[in-house]
Amino acid sequence: MTIKDDNERQRKVLLDRREALTCMTWAGTGLLWAMNGGAPLTKGLIGDAYAAPAPKEFTFVQISDSHIGFNKPANPDAMGTLKEAIAKIKALPVQPAFMIHTGDISHLSKDEEFDNADQLIKEAGLPVFYVPGEHDVIDDGRGQSYRTRYGKNAHGSGWHSFDYNGVHYIGLVNVMDLKAGGLGNLGDEQLTWLEKDVSSLSSSTPLVVFAHIPLWTVYPEWGWGTNDAAKALSTLKRFGSLTVLNGHIHQIMQKVEGNAVFHTARSTAFPQPAPGTASSPGPMKVPAGELRNYLGIASVSFVANSKPLAIMDAALSANPAL
């Protein structure tokens, strides 16, 4: 290899980085955020995703951490911002097929909090699939209220699966029976169920797994990870396309590992600090005018014959809607 080749390559890397940074700028304004097999999004993929949608393309939307009942200074109006998130979903140019909520619907598992959340969420007019966050299982019955409302067709503490348009969706619960010093927890009963749930699926079936606490270790010092996630991922490793959607950390994070794409969504209620940037993961107070830059929804597109699912995050402040 000559020096010229090296320079050529370096220039190419820089160009790629510049392209990536362009995408990052979009992310900063909350308009668009996507990923593709470990590499930052290329313009080509944006073109593919937007200009030439495959006939079988469909989208679903993810919301998370609405914390209805929260009224502290970081956001005294969590109902108002959830309402804005739902309005944003209704304004999407292509209506999603359904919605998933990755937990912490309520702040204190109170009936009126669930009632208020339900009233707002049903305005979207979409089927909704839930998994609980730790804030949804702190009633006296340790999640009884949640399970009565949202877990009718679920197993155990609320895990379930369903199929839509050739994609298999698995909602996991990792907020029960947390151990001292530990992270999120799936437990053996759920892991055994997971093995059975996917046993008859072809490895080419795209999988979407959603759970509240990240299924990858984001920051163990703040409990941002799941102890036995590796066992679940080992069960799923034969699948060619695995998209993992989480909440809990109230900010966007992503990781790509082999065929798996991990993504966490923003909250609709209040932001939390980036790992290690504060003394604790408590609600982050931002100037009132900036709050909506930190809150938002995620829209996931499935394009037939395209391996990774494109995930686009939109901040509440983003205008126009995606």
């Binding site: 502290k72 598992s109 006296d140 409990g223």
Partner: protein
Amino acid sequence: MIPNQSWSLFFGLLAALILTTCLGPEAKAETAPSVHIDNFTFTPQEITITRGTTLTWVNDDDIPHAIAATNKAFRSKAMDTEQKFSFTFTEPGTYEYFCSLHPHMQGKVIVKE
């Protein structure tokens, strides 16, 4: 006579004030030891009390927390901001506990005879 009476009253009040100021908090601390929760941290993180003492946890954080002993000796409901949980320790020993919502938060109670 009148000035003397005033001085007596003044010194009397002063003595009462000093007694209240010096003894008040100490006496209070002895009867009601507490652990405060703020910023996802227990303060003090380790506390030593004597057998029969009632310990109170106070949530000063803007997020709910819940107390759970690792050996399951005690467990609170979720405590929202300003809510409290108390437990009376009748057996000496070391009790490790954590927040059952945020298990990275841990603390210790040492109960002596």
